[in-house]
């Protein structure tokens, strides 16, 4: 299923400065794995050492948080958008 992964500013340096990556995957987990295989520097920012998505990074399919869908097993359909939303703190 061709889908789009939106890359937030803090992670753009690790994907060659792109703001989105198109790829094909059946589930969110597969999409993120494909993404980190293509851009290995991204891996440590998205995953802990034991392979779980970091808790200060949230992943959405369209506008829904995957934690309230099927987490990494959430299925994807054509044209879906995955958003990676890390916590940012800047205010000054």
């Amino acid at each position: 299923m061709p889908i789009n992964v939106l890359i937030p500013t803090p992670l753009r340096p690790f994907v060659g400065k792109r703001n989105s990556v198109e790829l094909t995957a059946p589930t969110v987990g597969e999409a993120l794995r494909t993404l980190t295989e293509q851009f290995s520097d991204l891996r440590k920012h998205l995953y802990t050492d034991d392979g779980r998505i970091r808790s200060f990074v949230n992943v959405y399919v369209n506008d829904e948080d995957i934690r309230y869908l099927e987490k990494e097993s959430t299925p994807l359909k054509d044209g879906d958008t995955i958003s990676i939303v890390p916590s940012i703190a800047g205010g000054r």
Binding site: Y60, D65, V85
Partner: protein, 390 residues
């Protein structure tokens, strides 16, 4: 403990106030009733910087009757690129004094209370209890978690905004039916992973947009009108000029605001965030360092030192020590370009990124490596005053 007495209702608006707020009063969404709500409202702003500047200006302009502002910082020259409450002549003054003056100049009819102190676990609860709403315009993770927790524990809504380079986020946390910050981010990122504005940079006008959106949401909450951002995360991408929205749900297992809360009081937030939530001092132990003066002496003596510059190309263009440019982010991939048999001095702007580089290289087996203490900024201070600082 006496119960709080109900505040005496202020009189209806004076003639001057009716004229001042006429553009509000002629709108049914505000009207006299709404303007009086604004006049009675008590809003606490945490931070008088990039976000706090437009926020304070618009809340004062709107006639929010009681503003409290918390900030312990002093106006810095580099703030003027974005903190629009300040003038060049304010550099060196406490931010609160300058902000208070500016806001009262615009609207002398409101009350402004200033709290020139760091917000801590010791003072937050007491402070928040005196206000209806809190607006988070801070710049570091420990304070954001502190503000969130104190809001939930005192039952105050938290109008949250944050920025990074060209992106911003806005939402409202702490409403009884809505999520809190911990529902979204149960844990902070490890220290040093997300740079502050000083390290990462920020488009000056970005906090202007995000802070203004926070002001709009604050006013809507006071008026009780419109669709607010409770349960919604507004994302703004200034470069792409896109607004997006994601749904935020209250986490039933949230340790703070969920069904079975385990956090019932404020904690040590520095520890929670691994100490380095903001800009932290480099640990003095074990970091091999060389001062700019020492480096100059060694170079003048003809020592064969390899200067490694771990900044970004655009920084190299501002000023440089003729070093070998290898941005920190590229170091893991390009480490084989470096010769571990040579003596290497790593530098960046202020000494933090280069400290990370030194640590990385030591782990990779480099033994003759030093961090330039204070970075190129310290070089400009101590060795070459003609060098521009940034």
């Amino acid at each position: 403990m006496p119960t709080e007495t109900k505040m005496v209702e202020p009189p209806l608006l004076s003639k001057e106030e009716v004229l001042r707020y006429s553009r509000h009063l002629i709108m049914p969404e505000v009207g006299m009733e709404g303007q009086l709500k604004l006049k009675r409202a008590r809003v606490l702003m945490i931070g008088a910087g990039g976000l706090g500047a437009p926020l304070g200006l618009y809340l004062a302009a709107a006639g929010v009757g009681h503003l409290g502002i918390v900030d312990f910082d002093v106006v810095d020259f580099t703030n003027l690129q974005r903190q629009v409450t300040f003038s060049t002549s304010d550099v060196g003054r406490p931010k609160l004094a300058a902000a208070r003056e500016r806001l009262l100049a615009m609207n002398p009819t409101i009350d402004i209370a200033t709290y020139e102190t760091r917000l801590t676990s010791q003072n937050a609860l007491e402070l928040f209890r005196g206000y209806d709403l809190v607006v988070d315009g801070t710049d570091n993770f420990p304070t954001r978690y502190l503000v969130n927790d104190a809001c939930v524990l005192t039952g105050k809504r938290n109008v949250y905004g944050s920025i990074f380079r060209f992106e911003g986020q806005v939402s409202i946390f702490g409403a009884p039916e809505g999520p809190c910050y911990r529902c979204l981010y149960p844990e902070p990122p490890p220290p040093g992973l997300v740079p502050s504005c000083a390290e990462g940079g920020v488009l000056g006008v970005l906090p202007g947009i995000v802070g203004s959106i926070q002001a709009i949401e604050t006013i809507k909450l006071i008026l009780g009108s419109g669709d607010h951002l409770i349960g919604r995360l507004l994302l703004f991408d200034a470069l792409g000029m896109r607004f997006r929205e994601l749904k935020l749900k209250k986490n039933p297992d949230c340790p703070l605001c969920g069904k079975h809360p385990t956090i019932t009081k404020l904690i040590d937030y520095e520890e929670f965030c691994g100490i380095r939530g903001e800009e932290a001092p480099i640990p003095q132990t074990q970091m091999p360092e060389i001062t700019p003066r020492e480096l100059k002496q060694r170079l003048d003596r003809g020592d064969d030192l390899f200067i490694l510059d771990v900044r970004e190309p655009h920084e190299y263009q501002i000023c440089n020590l003729n070093g070998y440019l290898l941005p920190l982010g590229d170091l893991p991939r390009r480490v084989n370009e470096l010769d571990s048999s040579r003596e290497i001095v790593a530098h960046c702007r202020s000494g933090k990124r280069s400290a990370d580089a030194v640590e990385f290289l030591r782990k990779a087996g480099f033994r003759k490596i030093w961090n330039l203490k204070g970075g190129i900024l310290a070089w400009a201070d101590d060795v070459d005053p003609a060098m521009p600082k940034y």
